[in-house]
Amino acid sequence: MAVTFSLPTVLARLADGQATIESTGTTLGDVVAEITGRYPRLAPRLRDETGGPYPFVTYYLNDEDIRFRNGFATPVGEGDEITVVAAIAGG
């Protein structure tokens, strides 16, 4: 499935300045693995040491926080938009 993966500026710097990346996969975890394969410096800021989502970013699949779905095991569909946002905000 082809998806769009958007990064905040603080992370885009680790992806050669790419704020929007097109990727493929059947789950969000697949997509993250594909992208961190291309941009290894992103890996420690997208995944924690256990391979789960890094605690200081929040992932949205379209408009939904993936913690309300199935985390990295959440299936993705053609044309889905994945947005990564720094978690320290608001309140």
Binding site: Q18, A19, E22, R45, V57, D63, A86, I88, A89, G90
Partner: protein
């Protein structure tokens, strides 16, 4: 195929017209960052906080007491190298003795820290906005904004209007009327967003990244949060330069708890007070209690929730400082309590009837949580307890619909009044 990052469209910016903000450091990895409109560590994405010069001259209690009664009397603990230039008269709200509540809670003393009468917008958010607006001016930012559950919207709209700063204010679409009107009247760019606060917050995070605005609780968050410490400073000063043994405060994003701890600790380090940091107790509505859940469950991983409560001002399902608030509670030996909708309404009424303070729903949560903590044996007979009441009840009158007796209606005739009250008159 990839898309190159669009250069952000910077907001119209002026040269620096405010105090120089302090530089920043990551709360987690301690990496240093220059003063900037950024709240996220470039190294680890942790939160940034201002760095104070530990050798700076500090005032005595007498010096502070002689200053104007505003939050700026504690300027040495606020994140600037120069004097503030706007919002100079916020802070220094009353601390009210509440003996009837002390009896009800079974403790030695209770005081209400009454930010329901905060100037200018009737909530504790005046404190954080005062700090953030000075940071915006000090960084030369021409536009400010926020994501808000209502009180912050009120505070930013009011203070930005006075400072003549354009403000983009984003709120959930279904806020209480009083909070919408109490924002719109100042004529900011008010935007209602379909969704809850967490949806608004996500949008604002992206907006701050793209437009270069100074969103006070997003990219100015490191400076903004420091304003909350002044609530702790005032409590200590108003108690006669000493600390209470326990404090109950509402939790939304969780920042207030962490800043209360920091404020009490800083006054101790400065030698202005002695003794242990008060036990900090956090209050949430059961319909949105992810921090209470974390405290009760233990561990470090906060599980977000979809909020469902009338306490909209604290309805944040994905609190940014949740794990840090839980840490402050654990370090100080406190606890947390979630309360039902009925209990929070009863809390509003109890606070009003016993102290003369009319608080909004978040204050009802705080009052009800204090009752729950007392009933659960978390408070001690010798406790000197402060309840942090953070907002005004006139903003959320909807919460009391059906909860108060209807006033009798009579004609302007003395016999009708006599019939109502009988021979007592």
């Amino acid at each position: 195929m990839t898309t190159v990052l669009d250069p952000p469209s910077p907001a119209p910016s002026a040269t620096r017209t405010g105090p120089r903000p302090l530089s920043l450091a990551c709360k987690l990895c301690h990496a240093r960052h220059p003063a900037s409109a950024s709240a996220t560590c470039e190294e680890c994405l942790g939160p940034l906080e201002p760095v104070y010069d530990s050798a700076r001259p500090l005032p005595t209690a007498a010096t502070i007491a002689a200053r104007a009664p505003s939050l700026w009397r504690y300027r040495e603990w606020l994140p600037f190298l120069d004097d503030a230039v706007v919002s100079l008269d916020s802070g220094f709200t009353p601390l009210i003795d509440a003996p009837a509540l002390a009896r009800r809670l079974g403790v030695a003393r209770v005081w209400v820290k009454n930010d329901a009468v905060s100037h200018p917008s009737l909530s504790f958010k005046d404190r954080v906005v005062a700090s953030a607006l000075n940071a915006a001016l000090g960084l030369g930012l021409g536009t400010v904004g926020c994501a808000s559950t209502g009180n912050l919207a009120n505070a930013l709209a009011a203070q930005a209007a006075r400072a003549r700063l354009p403000a983009w204010i984003f709120i959930p679409h279904d806020l209480e009327l009083g909070k919408v009107v109490g924002t719109a009247v100042y004529n900011p760019r008010l935007v209602r967003v379909r969704g809850n606060y967490d949806d608004v917050n996500r949008l604002c995070s992206q907006a701050a990244d793209r437009y270069g605005w100074g969103l006070v609780n997003i990219n100015l968050r490191g400076y903004y949060g420091e304003g909350s410490k002044t609530m702790a400073f005032e409590i200590a000063e108003q108690l006669g330069w000493r600390l209470p043994t326990a404090v109950v405060a509402p939790m939304a994003g969780g920042s207030l708890l962490t800043k209360l701890e920091k404020g009490f600790r800083e006054f101790g380090e400065a030698g202005l007070v002695s003794g242990e940091t008060p036990r900090l107790y956090g209050a949430q509505a059961s319909g949105c209690a992810p921090i209470v859940d974390l405290v009760e469950r233990g561990g470090e991983t906060l599980v977000p929730v979809v909020p469902s409560t009338i306490a909209r001002s604290i309805a944040i399902g994905n609190p940014a400082d949740g794990r840090f608030a839980a840490g402050a509670i654990r370090r100080t030996g406190g606890w947390a309590a979630g309360v039902s909708e009925a209990a929070l309404v009863a809390g509003i009424k109890l606070l009003a009837e016993t102290t003369g303070v009319f608080t909004e729903t978040a204050g009802g949560v705080t009052m009800a949580a204090a009752l729950a903590l007392a009933d659960g044996g978390r408070l001690r007979p010798e406790d000197e307890l402060v309840l942090c009441i953070t907002g005004n009840g006139l903003k959320t009158v909807e919460a009391l619909q059906g909860a108060l007796p209807e006033a009798p209606l009579i004609g302007p005739r003395i016999r009708e009044l006599e019939a109502l009250y009988g021979r007592d008159l």
